[in-house]
Symmetry: C2
Subunit: 139 residues, 2 copies
DNA sequence: CTGAGTGCAAAGGGTTTGCAACGAC
DNA sequence: GTCGTTGCAAACCCTTTGCACTCAG
């Protein structure tokens, strides 16, 4: 993963910095994290990394195809490693729990839209609703 | 629609105010609008309506089931009338164009998740990707 | 040694909140 | 008259930006 980073950065004439390594590592380790959480994680290891660096780096990493983001809440976006299997996020609005599903679950939709020439970005997809636990429990 | 508003407000012991009527009307008329756009629209008719009133009112209207919101961009949410047919939003990340689809297109997904007891909020769903126009045009 | 990358502080969008005045019922 | 609602201003969260300094290559 660090090799990927070095390689892809070099391809773009960009530089490998300790911050970029740490931030990528944080995203991988945290699995699903907001910029803020990434910042906290990185800071727990090395003090003095700046929030703006986190934002700028996440943007770079996303352009390099190393991380991805989705919106799992009405607030900050959530980043995850692009090296994981691609997955669809299913979010319970009541308990906030996030479940990952195999992209196969949305394949029919992808196919249906493909018929119109639309290419779905499956990794970005977040499906909201109410999970079994919350639904059965009533209001 | 105004009747709905009056009725539902009364049911909750809430009050019918001119602002609430104007804001609901704005959402209906604009079809897809951010809080900001709603504010601008309302102000074009009556001066002096406050942004916080718009936010508070949209929240109330959503609780009453009269409006709905989705996230069609990384910025402000988009509100629309809940009285329209429920629809799924398909958004092109490149040209930003938003297309509405019949919920039938996602029925297989809804069914698949229902098997796990998860109830999908179809109206909130936004599917991102690249549309035919942008895809064929190349990078 | 040069320019990409960083930290810092300030500004920016969007949203929320406390509070006094207002007005629907 | 009461209490839900509004306007206003300030605060808030999240993110972006300008700039001087730093350090990867």
């Amino acid at each position: 993963m660090n090799d990927d980073l070095a390689t892809r950065l070099r391809e773009q004439g960009l530089r490998l910095t300790p911050q970029r390594q740490l931030i990528l590592r944080a995203v991988v380790e945290l699995r699903h994290a907001t910029p803020d959480e990434v910042l906290a994680h990185v800071r727990s290891q090395v003090s003095s990394v700046n929030a703006s660096t986190v934002y700028r780096t996440l943007e770079v990493l996303e352009e390099l195809g190393l991380v991805r983001h989705t919106h799992l809440s009405d607030r900050a976006p959530t980043y995850h490693s692009a090296l994981e299997h691609e997955h669809v996020h299913v979010v319970c609005r009541r308990c906030q729990k996030v479940r990952s599903y195999d992209p196969a679950v949305v394949q029919p939709v992808v196919d249906a839209l493909a018929a119109d020439g639309f290419v779905v970005d499956v990794g970005h997809l977040a499906i909201f609703g109410e999970c079994a636990d919350c639904g059965s429990a009533g209001t």
